[in-house]
């Protein structure tokens, strides 16, 4: 998925640092569930590659996030503690600042297709096709009361 060489990357070093801090704050690693965070190198590379077409609006959001951090805490966003980073990220998302929703969406898209994450959820790490899935028929006798009630459509 992530197939980016450095020269293709429109994100500057500072933007990338803020971006990784943000996605790691949105979805952190969990020892309990044995999953990486969204700032895991493989997942982050996927996020950066996927976010490339939206660089302009995402960069504006990252810049705004940095301003918020400087204003509130007098330090850069990436240097904040995890709780403060998550709180600012949530606040920016709720404000519907352009680009944040896009980045959160991309983060979820890339995170929840990672092998380790899928396996922790009990999923096979594969696309749906060609194996497909088994779905039980269910209990068709549940229709009995519907049948007993009889016709409900109108005849004009």
């Amino acid at each position: 998925m992530a197939d980016t060489i450095a020269s293709d990357d429109p994100f500057s070093g500072d933007e990338r640092r803020t971006l990784l801090a943000l996605v790691g704050a949105v979805i952190p690693a969990s020892a309990k569930h044995a999953v990486p965070g969204a700032d895991d190198p493989a997942i982050a590379a996927d996020i950066v590659a996927t976010a490339r077409p939206y660089h302009e609006t995402i960069a504006a959001a990252l810049s705004h996030l940095e301003s918020m951090a400087m204003q509130r805490f007098d330090t850069g966003y990436a240097d904040l503690d995890p709780v403060s980073r998550a709180r600012l990220a949530r606040e920016l998302t709720r404000s519907r600042f352009a680009g944040v929703g896009t980045l959160v969406t991309i983060t979820a898209q890339c995170y929840y297709r990672d092998d380790r994450v899928m396996q922790s959820l009990g999923m096979d790490a594969r696309p749906p096709f060609p194996q497909g899935f088994d779905v039980p028929q269910g209990d068709w006798s549940l229709l009995d009361p519907v049948r007993r009630r009889g016709r409900i459509y109108k005849i004009p």
Partner: protein, 532 residues
């Protein structure tokens, strides 16, 4: 100048495919111009790990988000519901869910029954044989005996109830309300060269298995074998008229952007409720300065969506999630008008099986049910495979101020004016949406849901585009007659959702196709005097 053809069809979607196949037996020379491509199912999202992400990108239901070369933009900024469609051989059947109900007998008589809108110039009995013919061609699955419908057969057994269908069916039973296995355009057995459904779950971004009945794999192979020619990447700019006021053919751009004129004896428009009025309004001439077939002034008016309500429950136990066709059962408990309610007409509940892992995360994070940071994973696991619910598909009544017009600035890649949508949700629709949300919440709670997530109307839910070139007997109050021929131009026909007089409260594709077959049959029966 190209050789003249007998029949020129614009659009290779649900209706264009059906009318082409039906007319093919006449041995006339038939050409269909389609602005999109033939799709390759091996490139559909379900073949890749990024299958959910692509539903937000190149396989999005929104033409504005997709932005493919084969799409045209739509200015729907002045509408609470945005347009969904797809441009390819197969049209929007490539992306539809395959939920496939018929209209009801009462849907054709709303003026008589409820004093609103207009009656159709045809009735359920007229369409019934064409519904059945379409069922055979598309390969429908379902269960005979639904008490919400007159008797009808099903070609194949229904899709499985699954865990989600079973849970929600119990909720309906608890309340004593109607439900039934949905009729679907999904093959549950091998059928007409198609493989049976293997529960990929990604129906709405193209079926790689070929189980879902998109018309590129149902009607078109038969029509092409019978001699119909499909020209892809051909975008029609306008329908031309001759000195006698008849359609003389169409002007179109080919894949290289080269402009052509294709003469034709008969022109059939099959671009649905937004594409069709756009083409008619773009077809101006000295004789038709306000657009072809628009003497009534009704081309582009009476746009109907189906306002959708989404009501999703969160359950304690894992259900089907992303596995299986999204559709499974329906309820028409609140379909017919009830004078005790504060709205007329009604709606269908289409029960949804579940969501994929990404959609689950987004639903949770954007509704504050999944926090950022600590607690994300525990909260996520409370939702994953545990969300199931339904959408309420509300009948939208025709109102002339809901319109498709030509945008004064926006154009497509060929410089053709793009459509602009101006649409207001009616008070009747708003009350119906509220009712649908409240009753569905009761069902989900009866089924054991511990939390309910709602959205009404669904902002991106303009899947159904109807009414903008309505059918009728009176030329002053309709655009086409009771068998689809323009009142103004006797060799111009329209066969898609734009000719709907009312919208009913069900997904429209099965009726669009039955109408297309009925119009084709009417044409075949009148070949000797088609233009009289």
């Amino acid at each position: 100048m190209t050789d003249s053809v007998d029949v020129l069809i614009v659009g290779a979607g649900a209706s264009g495919a059906a009318v082409a196949w039906s007319l093919a037996e006449t041995r006339m020379r038939i050409v269909c111009l389609e602005q999109g491509d033939w799709m390759n199912p091996l490139e559909y999202p379900s073949t890749g790990r990024d299958w959910e992400a692509r539903g937000f990108g190149d396989m999005s239901i929104s033409p504005n988000r997709r932005g493919r070369e084969t799409d045209y933009p739509v200015n729907d900024a002045n509408s609470p519901i945005s347009v969904a469609n797809f441009n390819a051989v197969g049209g929007s059947t490539i992306l539809y869910a395959g939920h496939f109900p018929r209209f009801h007998p009462s849907d054709f008589r709303v003026k008589t029954l409820d004093g609103v809108a207009d009656d159709w110039p045809i009735d359920y009995q007229t369409l019934e044989p064409f519904y059945a013919e379409n069922d055979r061609m598309m390969g429908t699955s379902g269960l005979a005996g639904d008490p919400a419908y007159p008797p009808k057969e099903s070609v194949m057994p229904p899709v499985p109830l699954g865990r989600a269908g079973e849970a929600i069916a119990k909720g309906f039973n608890e309340l004593g309300w109607h439900w039934w296995p949905s009729d679907t355009a999904i093959a549950t057995e091998a059928y007409d060269g198609r493989d049976k459904c293997i529960n990929l779950g990604a129906c709405s971004s193209g079926c790689a298995q070929g189980a879902k009945a998109s018309t590129d794999i149902t009607y078109w192979p038969h029509a092409v074998r019978a001699g119909v020619e499909v020209r892809t990447r051909c975008r029609v700019r306008e329908i031309a008229v001759n000195g006698q006021g008849m359609a003389s053919g169409v002007v179109y751009f080919d894949r290289d952007g080269v402009e052509h004129f294709q003469p034709a004896e008969v022109v059939i428009v099959a671009c649905n409720g937004v594409g069709t009025p756009r083409l008619l309004l773009n077809s101006t001439s000295g004789r038709f300065p306000d657009g072809i077939a628009n003497t009534s002034g009704l081309v582009g008016r009476n746009l109907m969506f189906h306002p959708y309500a989404s009501i999703q429950g969160v359950f304690d136990e894992p259900l089907d999630g992303y596995q299986g066709p999204g559709v499974c059962i329906w309820s028409q408990e609140f379909y017919e008008t009830d004078p005790n309610r504060d709205f007329v007409r009604g709606y269908t509940y289409e029960i949804n099986r579940g969501r994929g892992p990404v959609a689950t995360a987004l639903a949770g994070m954007f509704s504050d049910r999944i926090p950022f940071g600590d607690g994300h994973h525990d909260a996520y696991r409370q939702l994953f495979k545990r969300i199931a619910g339904m959408v309420g598909i509300c009948e939208d009544l025709p109102e002339e101020h809901n319109t498709v017009t030509l945008d004064p600035e926006l154009t497509d890649g060929h410089g053709i004016p793009a459509p602009r949508i101006d649409y207001t949700l009616s008070e009747n629709s708003r009350r119906m949406l509220d009712h649908a949300v409240a009753r569905a919440t009761e069902v989900l709670e009866a089924a054991g849901a511990k939390d309910v997530i709602t959205e009404a109307p669904i902002g991106v839910g303009g899947w159904h585009l109807m009414g903008t070139a309505r059918m009728g007997i009176d030329p002053e109050r309709s655009v086409v007659n009771e068998w689809g021929r323009s009142h103004d131009v006797r060799n111009l026909f329209i066969v898609d959702g734009s000719i709907f007089v009312t919208s009913a409260g069900v997904n429209p594709t099965r009726t669009i196709q039955a109408l297309a077959l009925y119009i084709a049959d009417s044409m075949k029966n009148r070949l000797a005097n088609l233009f009289d």
